[in-house]
Symmetry: D2
Subunit: 95 residues, 4 copies
Amino acid sequence: MKVVADLCIVPMGVGPSVSSYVKEIKAILEASHLNAEMHANGTNIEGELADICRLIELCEEKLSQLGVQRVFFTMAFSSRRDKEQSMADKLTAVS
Amino acid sequence: MKVVADLCIVPMGVGPSVSSYVKEIKAILEASHLNAEMHANGTNIEGELADICRLIELCEEKLSQLGVQRVFFTMAFSSRRDKEQSMADKLTAVS
Amino acid sequence: MKVVADLCIVPMGVGPSVSSYVKEIKAILEASHLNAEMHANGTNIEGELADICRLIELCEEKLSQLGVQRVFFTMAFSSRRDKEQSMADKLTAVS
Amino acid sequence: MKVVADLCIVPMGVGPSVSSYVKEIKAILEASHLNAEMHANGTNIEGELADICRLIELCEEKLSQLGVQRVFFTMAFSSRRDKEQSMADKLTAVS
């Protein structure tokens, strides 16, 4: 199932500042073959839901190696059957 | 990756009342082998992230058969490495 | 605007276990006049959006007094104009 | 309480394509005094939580005038006490 997702990954228990961890997540997302765009509160990513889930597991594994024992995730996404719509298409449609 | 997720599935474009669709989703979740508990705004479900994603795809496919062309999903979940914690454990810990 | 919300409050930077903090939040929600029901991943709460926001600020203030410097929140909610629907009504409609 | 929020507004029951409604929401957000940046899955907005809630109510009212009887919203936000951090600061910290 192809989706456009808004993914937010929150490392818990490692102090109020988490930017060093987010940098590592960013590197993993950028190294993937999925189209991903970071914004101020998360990352928009488009691809097969199963591929995005695998990427989430990679991020959690990396965070674990860095000492993060608990991670909170939010993901909002939509699927549609009436037409194909990329992240870019979504923004164009409302501009 | 084992997670406890809060899943919300929103059928779009089929009128303000969506309870008939939610009943179908409920039947799919209950027929799965995953532990799932519906609440007023979604369903708590525990299991491997990949299994939950497969279940989400089944729900979307069923909704599509019922004429829903677009579905919006939200999923919040956490993973932890310091200890195993079920949905029931989470509630017990704060009671 | 009256809403039925699913609220999740995540204390950041204070270790992987946050149940002692969630207990404090639970006490604040229960002491309010709003109808609130905790579940494994958050709390369903119904009321005016502005009242729920005030309650969120009370929770954040309490967490701050307990040493939590950063808090992550998620809130999913829906409003409807075609009919009144309580949390209990939502569950009844799909049972 | 000042927050940086990721807000997503989903008009329900009005067909799979909602871009005409999202354009109206965009106009309301841009006319406000709050700093708001639309992305492919929502809008990042920074300001007092109470101000953002008032803006949400304006959006719901406008959608209602356009015939949308039910609206689903998600909002993820964080507050922090250890330092001030704008949307721009958040992106700079991880670049």
